[in-house]
């Protein structure tokens, strides 16, 4: 009657041996994936913090100070991205793409937000990627030695490549932040920024319309939010224009500087 004797997992059978190697392979892969997810989460948090920090430019006296602080924060983020790049040496980037894409998108959002505040223009994908080439110092750097397999690899620069899609998605989210910046600017009496922003957002919106639904699904999904953000910015400019019509332009600045004195701080950006 003992018909099924000895069948349970003879530990030295070929099947069990094979599965032991599978176990190892899967665990290795999964661990790497988890490390990347963790890095991505850290990058997301730090990038979000940078964005929050940057929003302060509309309310503080010293914009440069904020920018310097955000620069520091982004340098920290870049170091994390370098760790991702190190994990990916010799790997197929797309194999682990889902692990780090949220973080990278948020980084694109943060870095392009900073770029816009400084330069009033859209940072290019090339520029972003150029900033993610990390050149190793010959010896004493990087004592963690995350993947220093061979000696000659040390000389090659480690670099990370943001994919065009992640770039697009990050830029799409940027527009939401720009909309918030615009509303805050109006709220704080900055009368130039909103017009610049509407000009800029229209260009970005045109760009996205041009791509339309040929991009990945996530991009088309964001088009609607983008259009709403643009609408809010256009409405803000309209309101400024209409209200501004009741007073000559040179007096406006005057009004606002009086106002600024009241809230005990100098004028925002400009």
């Amino acid at each position: 009657q003992q018909i099924r004797e000895e069948r349970d997992g003879n530990p030295s059978s070929a099947v069990m041996l094979a599965f032991k190697t599978f176990q190892q392979e899967l665990d290795t892969k999964h661990d790497k994936y988890e490390r990347l997810v963790k890095l991505s989460r850290d990058i997301t948090i730090e990038s979000k913090r940078t964005i929050f920090l940057l929003h302060r430019v509309t309310s503080v006296p010293d914009v440069e100070e904020v920018l310097a602080e955000s620069e520091d924060k982004l340098d920290g983020v870049k170091l994390k991205i370098k760790l991702i790049a190190l994990e990916l040496i010799g790997e197929d980037l797309y194999q682990y793409h889902r692990a780090f894409t949220p973080g990278i998108q948020e980084y694109v959002e943060a870095v392009s937000f900073q770029h816009f505040i400084k330069e009033r223009s859209l940072i290019s994908l090339e520029q972003i990627n150029k900033d993610l080439i990390f050149i190793e110092d010959k010896k004493n750097e990087e004592p963690e030695g995350l993947s220093s397999d061979s000696q000659d690899e040390k000389d090659k620069p480690v670099c990370f490549q943001v994919t065009p899609t992640d770039y697009l998605l990050g830029v799409a989210d940027l527009t939401g932040e720009l909309m918030r910046l615009c509303i805050s600017s109006v709220g704080n009496g900055d009368i130039d920024t909103p017009f610049e922003l509407s000009q800029f957002l229209r260009q970005v919106y045109d760009g996205f319309s041009y791509i339309g639904n040929t991009g990945p699904y996530e991009v088309s999904k964001k088009l609607y939010t983008l259009k709403q953000s643009l609408g809010k910015v256009e409405d803000a400019c309209y309101a400024l224009k209409v209200r501004g019509s009741e007073i000559p332009k040179h007096m406006l600045a005057d009004v606002f500087s009086t106002r600024a004195a009241l809230v005990e701080s100098d004028e925002g950006i400009s």
Partner: protein
């Protein structure tokens, strides 16, 4: 039979739980009713005539908060203190509303931001989770945000009522509030969404101040502020 006895006991537990929820629901209904009454009282400040007797309206609101305290006192007795979060959803909404009303009363009285401690005193509950029925920080913040949008409406109506200094004071207050919120790392949760609305309140108030400024109506912050 032993298993049967065990399950009879379990059924007792389950029934008790349903009864607790029923009890809570009833008290919460009463709370909502009182909250609506306070709202009616306080909202009358938006009316032209309302600006005159803000103090008496606040007085009336304060009285109604007695009823609130008695309801909340009742609520605490309906379930063991350590199971606050088990039933949180039942009273979360009304608690946020009460936090708003308390914040509004305090603002109307003293033009300051109510602290969480003050709200809990007004409601007769605890600040600290450990001590018992308390006010969650998210619920407090949500109440504060609701007040902010009430203030933007107040700024508009005070101009209509001829009070030109109040909008400036509101503007300063709201700006301070906005700076405060900017310190928070809000995730993409309901609070974040509500906070995004604050920017529009800031903007609206700023527009009122601007309208006053270009007409030279906003110069008297020192003098006529209290009207």
């Amino acid at each position: 039979m032993s298993v049967n006895e065990m399950f009879s006991g379990i059924q007792g537990f389950l029934s008790a739980d349903q009864d607790v929820r029923e009890d809570i629901r009833k008290v919460v209904q009463g709370l909502e009713q009182t909250a609506r009454e306070i709202l009616t009282v306080l909202q009358s400040v938006h009316q032209a005539s309302g600006f005159k007797d803000i103090p008496s309206k606040c007085q009336r609101g304060r009285e109604l908060f007695c009823t609130v305290r008695s309801h909340l006192g009742d609520l605490k007795t309906k379930f063991p203190a350590e199971q606050y979060y088990r039933f949180h959803e039942h009273w979360r909404f009304v608690l946020q509303r009460l936090a708003f009303l308390a914040a509004f009363v305090v603002y109307l009285e003293s033009e300051t931001l109510v602290t969480r401690e003050e709200v809990t005193q007004i409601l007769g509950i605890e600040v600290n989770r450990e001590k018992g029925f308390h006010l969650d920080i998210e619920d407090y913040l949500s109440g504060v945000l609701t007040m902010a949008s009430e203030l933007s409406r107040l700024a508009v109506n005070s101009v209509t009522a001829g009070d030109y200094s109040r909008p400036l004071r509101i503007s300063n207050f709201i700006n301070e509030l906005d700076s405060g919120f900017r310190l928070l790392n809000l995730k993409n949760d309901p609070l974040r969404k509500r906070y995004d609305g604050l920017k529009y309140d800031v903007k609206k108030i700023e527009e009122v101040v601007y309208d006053l400024s270009i007409r030279g109506l906003a110069r008297e912050p020192g003098s006529g502020g209290e009207e």
